[in-house]
Symmetry: C3
Subunit: 331 residues, 3 copies
């Protein structure tokens, strides 16, 4: 068995969790250069659907255009820099009009109208379309990268390419979302999620379903780290009653059906793939000692539509586990 | 027609509205070196009347002395630096006593009494008067300058000298004040006030009274920028019903009676001179993304004393317009 | 008579009370290098009793071990840096277990158990005991020093050595505590406590009992500064009714019984020794313009146990005086 975390290693010096200066460097060198999970295609059901992704002072508009293509633009009018969309998500219609001076853009980002600007020498609407942001669609999950010249997604996160197809991720929908804000440095959540050494003390209910030594890492290089834990009950799942709360994903092998797969996707995401559902944590560092975690529980539409569908046992199980962990992270 | 704002210009880079470092430079190089509107002589009706002007950590005491002269002093006791006056305005009496160790000053700033200090070698009360602050009275409006060696008011703001005498500004009184605090950089308010290109979209009620192209700048150099807009109804005013809410100022020409004159006085003031009243915005940058705007509606005492005087239509008109603008500035 | 404060001196420039940069230097060069009052032995009545002392991001655990010795440790698990104790004070039991991964320490700081770590190459529990913090017990008052190589207590504060034995400080107990948070720089509290020149204006009730010139300093070098004030009524005390609220400490001379002794112990403490009780102010700089003052009223157990014991007149007297002073410090 390969150990889940390397032994003989030492933890980072304390200042990495408290220094404003180090956090500013992380902002520039990590968050503004990495692929960050923004959402899922299921949040954009129709042309004109959009949601915002906000990081520090950046606001990115992710939308589905008239042809069905998902696009991402900086949410700023090219005239005076006003934000075009204010609500966190919604439906735009056929065009997008700035609330300040009424400049109007198509869903493909082109500037369609700018009142009274026609007579301004040198004014060229073709150079004044919305500024695109780098976007990648990985199995239905939409990642953004705010770098000026981003590393391609497949180069940055090769560990994800071609993985987890059996869970049919592009088809899933979130049935529940919890938003947590915790007074702790973002890296503590990655440490915490990456080991189960704390489970016997902190999560006895979880440790009963997956004893903490039942694990090995199958991805442990680069920014994707993790692997399976095998359940004591191969027909169970991680729920408050220990049983599944939906039929397992059809394409899973018998071995996969008895396991939960946990991965950190540095620096924004945790993926938790269960036989019957997928949970995703999205971490946003709000400050050196403040982190927002958005947690979604995804199920397949077939499961959601099945008679008697009830995801509460999955939600309750992880909400309890999350809160136990956040308390320790904030300590 | 001369355009209200220059075309072909570009807006400031985004960091000028968000960077703490740039804001600190603005504090030092702009706010602590410029003439800033502090108030109006009508706020000092009698000897001993005072009000405070506070900027960052500076507190300036503006008072009327026993001889009727308006003076400004740093609101700090020369002994231990305690603030002498705490309430934002009030009546002092014949002398001013520090609440800490009871040092007492005359309204002319001289140190009159300092208990038990007489026997201290080298103690010289003549060197320990209150420190004066630079003060200018422009048409009854009191401006302060916190620089060690300020540029004279007339040199800094030549555009104001001798202007607007027909509005009899020194005689006016504020009948209403609104205080707004908005989460936006102070320069956005200057941009916003300086153009009416946004009026059709944002202020349809205003654009009906003064269509946005009815304008030209008559002062456009240095820190005073603006000019008239002519009203569709030459007997109207900017009010919620479109008519005047007081008789026009007696000295206005027929042309002036049909216009509103708008000026920004960089970096603290907007003047809006109507045929029947004068509105003044006073902007105070509280932080890089926080601005306080104090708005006063001034009328002539003859108008205030007239039977049936009711300024609400002027207050309501601009309060609505202000709030529409603040929402955009904060976007 | 030697004056209580030197004349002809000038106050510090204003920036010493407002500059974040100077405050950061004070943190490093003063607070993290000085002996700071943390508490009193009476707060640790039995083996396993503890309290926390927190400064900036440091948390120190002060406890009484199984053998009765008072010890101080950094309140951090050696594994991941979690805080071991969370409540500000309490009882530990025989061992101390980290809430995260269940590492367990003895009250002497040794690592007793670390689950599953036995097979890690190079893991040596003897090197992983809790990190001690420098502790001094001066007459029952417990001082901490966070420096890596602290100056010995007796070298740093020679003025305290052997002083005030007649007040039997190690035996006392606090009967009342007030916690104040004031928007003022910490040094202003030292200035304020160090002179009674402000008493006639600010504390007429106090000035009646001890006229402000009834004083001289008997300790005025290094970080301990102060001396006695003699009371108008030699059988009185500093209380709301002017009389004593307990029998005087048995060992005081007749002269000492008619006096109050006031000392600042830089940079954390004020000692106020009355004939019948001892009041202690503990100052903690929370920020450049925010200070917490914890004030305790200590009496001898014999006084506390006497029929009709009522300390309210002492508490009320100083609570009023404190609040008058804090208002001026915050000005």
């Amino acid at each position: 068995m390969k150990p889940r975390t390397a032994f003989g290693q030492h933890t980072l010096p304390g200042e990495y969790f408290t220094s404003e200066e180090i956090f500013r460097a992380e902002r520039t060198q990590i968050f503004h250069r990495s692929w960050l999970l923004a959402g899922h295609v299921s949040q954009l059901p129709a042309p004109g659907s959009y949601f915002l992704f906000e990081l520090d002072r950046e606001s990115v508009l992710v939308l589905r255009d008239a042809g069905g293509t998902v696009r991402a633009f900086h949410n700023l009018c090219r005239h005076r820099g006003s934000r075009l969309c204010l609500a966190p998500h919604g439906e735009i219609g056929a065009t997008l009009q700035c609330p300040y001076h009424a400049w109007t853009y198509g869903l493909d980002g082109t500037l369609r109208a700018a009142p009274n600007m026609g007579d301004v020498p040198g004014f060229d609407p073709k150079t004044l379309g919305l500024k695109p942001a780098a976007l990648a669609d990985w199995q239905g999950f939409l990642f953004l990268n705010l770098a000026a010249d981003p590393v391609p997604f497949e180069t940055a996160l090769p560990g994800l390419v071609g993985k987890f197809e059996a869970w049919r991720l592009p088809e899933l929908r979130s049935v529940h979302q919890e938003v947590y804000e915790v007074a702790a440095n973002w890296k503590l959540f990655f440490h915490n999620y990456s080991e189960c050494y704390h489970c016997p003390k902190v999560h006895p209910h979880l440790n009963k379903l997956t004893p903490y030594r039942n694990t090995e890492n199958d991805l442990d290089e680069g920014p994707v780290l993790g692997g399976p834990m095998w359940m004591s009950n191969p027909d169970g799942s991680m729920t408050s009653h220990g049983g599944r709360c939906a039929v397992p994903f059809a394409g899973l092998s018998p071995e996969e059906r008895g396991r939960v797969y946990y991965y950190t996707v540095f620096p924004s995401t945790f993926l938790s793939l269960h036989p019957d559902y997928v949970m995703v944590h999205r971490a946003l560092a709000l400050g050196v000692d403040r982190t927002r975690i958005v947690c979604d529980w995804y199920f397949h539409p077939d499961a959601i539509g099945a008679p008697g569908f009830d995801p509460r046992s999955a939600v309750d199980f992880w909400d309890l586990t999350n809160r136990q962990d956040w308390e320790l992270c904030a300590n």
